[in-house]
Symmetry: C2
Subunit: 163 residues, 2 copies
């Protein structure tokens, strides 16, 4: 059985017990969370984000890329969110991943150099500050009163505010 087949089996159980009807598309807490794709972060558990509560945007690192800005622009302008929480984490694979080395390595293995940067960062707290800073200076986000940045500790499950 593949992992995807296992997910489909899990989904069949979920759908059989699904009693929600249709929830609104606009998040009820007017919140968007930007975080890492990391397998150890489960927003429902770590933040208590239930169905309908919040947008959750995730990529390698939880770094604020153009795609994150695009997603937040849609979130704020089309779906009325007003708060943004950036959550990066300890022991992240992107921490210390040097951009040039990563692109060299991918190029050597794949035969083509990525046009995109790795998203790696040398300092975790500084990366959180930079991520929140990119949101603060983005011309595309209308709501900036509640932009906050955190580090999630994968060994304790605890969030710590950085900015």
């Amino acid at each position: 059985m593949t992992a995807i087949d296992e997910m489909l089996r899990n989904n069949a159980g979920y759908a059989a017990a699904f009693g929600k009807g249709e929830l609104p598309s606009a998040p009820s807490k007017r919140l968007a969370v930007v975080t890492c794709m990391d397998a150890r972060i489960v927003p429902l558990r770590a933040l208590g984000i239930e169905e309908g509560d919040a947008h959750v945007i995730r990529n390698a690192g939880g770094v604020v890329t153009d795609d994150v800005i695009r997603s937040l622009t849609v979130s704020q302008r089309k779906l009325r969110t007003i708060e943004v929480m950036v959550v990066m984490h300890t022991k992240c694979g992107m921490h210390g991943l040097a951009d040039a080395e990563f692109r060299d390595e991918v190029e050597a293995e794949a035969g083509q150099r990525p046009a995109w940067p790795s998203g790696g960062f040398p300092d975790l707290e500084q990366a959180v500050r930079e991520g929140v800073g990119k949101l603060q200076t983005s011309p595309f986000l209308p709501h900036k009163d509640q932009l906050r940045g955190f580090v999630y500790d994968v060994e304790t499950g605890r969030l710590r505010e950085v900015v």
Copy 2:
């Protein structure tokens, strides 16, 4: 109380009961899921993704952008995942969002035109096929035996395979 403060209160309870110690960074199911930021999708519930199981990559639409390719490249090359599940969904805000109109609207309101496309799509199933197609043709992903695409129905909680 802001929504972020509420998340911090939830996190304090989670951390107080946290008994996992440190999980490995590599996902145990060797799976990455690409899906929409939509508030109605909670991967733990809808797919049974527990802490440590899988990478979860999310953006507006669940569209396969360069940032998604970047994240999957890291996922497969650095953290040993081999399967990818693309999950888009019914009643998505990106469904029918015309790119030029969206950029015109943002430009009119923000005073600057986004360099990035909206990510909107005219046909949901076709968008799933295109997303999986981008993964299939990417030179950067070494593992392509298990690339599958689905539509999640927000009214029933059920996944349907498209490709």
